[in-house]
């Protein structure tokens, strides 16, 4: 059932992207998600950026409503749900695209000291869409890319990954599906974990809407091993 939490703090982190600090934290594994209900508005899944932190892009009516909430107002949250990342590898890369940053931010913050070297490769269309938060505190290196060259290298994060893939023994990725497909291809579906997205409704493996081949994103994922996705993504 829902836990009712209050908004402790909200702030803008990029264009149309806001961070929401909650009054209560959730035990979670990086990569897991929660369902957020606004009574009378709707209910949507969001990846946890930290036990008490959501980082959300305004994309429609639900998120617009969310963006209007002030500190002290309530959210109804159930979860966390799904399969999170598994900690593997010593020298790892986090590959994020656009609003794919929250689960990787969580991973960096949770496990930063468990890896020998952590490289974040983060791309967005433009500088003002990069939602970096304070991620530089948790990773060893940050490489930015933008489609328009307004920050970091002009190009895609997968360009960087392709060049440097030999440096990494495990890659963790979250972002638009095209990017994920490129990551899987670069990694040949090995030593890679990706956070998948499908239209999710119940969040708990009932309705079947979020199927990805034979898998359910909400239960078998959202984190999948590359090897599971051959022939599917």
């Amino acid at each position: 059932m829902y836990r009712v939490v209050e908004l402790k703090e909200t702030w803008e982190v990029a264009k149309d992207v806001k961070a929401f600090r909650l009054s209560k934290g959730f035990d979670f594994t990086p990569g897991q998600f929660v369902m957020v209900w606004l009574p009378g508005v709707g209910e949507k899944p969001f990846s946890l950026a930290w036990k008490d932190l959501l980082v959300i892009k305004r994309v429609g009516s639900f998120t617009s409503k969310l963006f209007e909430l002030s500190e002290g107002e309530r959210l109804w949250i159930r979860g966390p749900y799904g399969r999170g990342f598994e900690r593997r590898g010593k020298r790892i890369a986090l590959v994020a695209g656009g609003i794919g940053i929250p689960p990787l931010y969580a991973l960096a913050k949770a496990w930063g000291d468990k890896f020998e070297e952590m490289t974040l490769i983060y791309g967005a269309r433009s500088k003002n869409e990069l939602a970096l938060l304070d991620v530089e505190n948790y990773v060893d290196e940050v490489i930015l890319t933008t489609d328009d060259g307004s920050a970091g290298r002009k190009g895609f994060p997968t360009d960087v990954l392709a060049e440097r893939k030999k440096e990494f023994d495990e890659v963790y990725a979250c972002g638009p599906e095209l990017m994920l497909k490129a990551v899987l291809k670069v990694m040949e579906y090995k030593n890679v974990q990706i956070s998948a997205e499908r239209y999710m409704k119940c969040g708990i493996g009932v309705c079947g809407s979020c199927n990805l081949g034979k898998y359910l994103v909400c239960r078998d994922g959202p984190i999948f091993d590359g090897s599971q996705l051959k022939g599917i993504l």
């Binding site: 949507k44 009932v206 309705c207 809407s209 199927n211 034979k214 239960r219």
Partner: protein, 300 residues
């Protein structure tokens, strides 16, 4: 090793545990997965005439003893369904669930989907879609008309899925039997609601929904017991089956086969293997050589 095989209306099921309609059964890949995970058969999500998006979230409420859902019969419509299954073949019985607003709609769907379905299950019992399901299926005369129309439209076996939201479910079962149904399945979900004490509103966007899971088992078992005592056609037991003991209770109460759904969400695909294994061990240790031997033993 004892046999868990079931033969129902001429169709052989490897074991009695069929995936119930509405649980992870939207696409063929999921049906195949269910069988890989040791489901004896699969019932599809309910298919109607037109595509339906279903209701907005929240569509589900998690309770300590089950779930309340109001999905709103999301489905691709019969045309979309036929496109979706194009090119697939299945090495397990595929039961297609259909819903309509009139006997004619049911019959139309059965006719259009007869090449795909090994059998049909008629959704006469969904408790949360206006004009469909339970709103039709609470009246014995409607059950009769729908079953009859479908039987006239297809040669495939027809299962009437009954609602427990009724004074006496055997009235519905008798109507289905009289109209020529090959089996009945029971129960669909119970009418229910959940309210959030801080929102002070019903949680579901549809306000009310259908209750399933462990908490409905005693009601479901009673429905199966009453139906099995009354009908000559087989009864497929559904409702809150969560452990092998539950499964055995349903078999003893007269169910010839079983469907499980909510437990697949609660405990994962592995429950098919676990419950089958539990039934097998029970049969062996109690001295039975096949599942069929225990069907209805508690009716005597």
């Amino acid at each position: 090793m004892v046999s868990l095989e079931v033969e129902l209306f001429g169709i052989r099921f490897e074991n009695p545990l069929i995936l119930a309609s509405g649980i992870n059964d939207k696409v063929p890949e999921q049906w195949i997965r269910a069988h890989e995970e040791e489901a004896g058969g699969v019932v599809t999500k309910s298919i109607g005439i037109e595509p339906r998006k279903g209701y907005d979230n929240p569509t589900i409420v998690e309770l300590p003893y089950g779930l309340i859902n109001a999905m709103g019969l999301p489905n691709p419509g019969w045309k979309g369904f036929l496109e979706m299954v194009e090119g697939y073949t299945f090495d397990f019985p595929l039961i297609v669930s259909i819903f309509g607003g009139t006997p004619e709609e049911f019959a139309f769907l059965a006719e259009k989907l007869s090449d795909v379905a090994d059998a049909f299950e008629l959704n006469l019992s969904c408790p949360h879609a206006k004009g469909y399901g339970m709103e039709i299926g609470q009246k014995p005369e409607n059950v009769y008309e729908v079953v009859k129309a479908v039987k006239d439209a297809t040669d495939k076996p027809v299962i009437a899925k009954l609602t427990p939201n009724i004074d006496d479910i055997t009235k519905l079962g008798l109507a289905a039997e009289k109209a020529g149904a090959d089996a009945v399945s029971a129960i669909n979900t119970l009418k229910a609601i959940a309210i959030d004490v801080y929102a002070r509103k019903p949680i579901l966007s549809n306000q009310v929904g259908g209750y399933s899971g462990p908490g409905v088992k005693p009601v479901a078992l009673r429905a199966v017991y009453d139906l099995a005592r009354t009908l000559d056609i087989p009864v497929i037991g559904i409702g809150g089956i969560t452990t092998w003991q539950d499964a055995v209770e349903f078999l003893l109460a007269g169910a010839s086969a079983l469907q499980i759904g909510t437990v697949v969400s609660l405990r994962g695909w592995k429950v098919f293997r676990e419950i089958n294994e539990g039934i097998r061990t029970y049969l062996e240790s109690e001295g039975f050589s096949s599942m069929r031997e225990i069907v209805g033993l508690a009716l005597e």
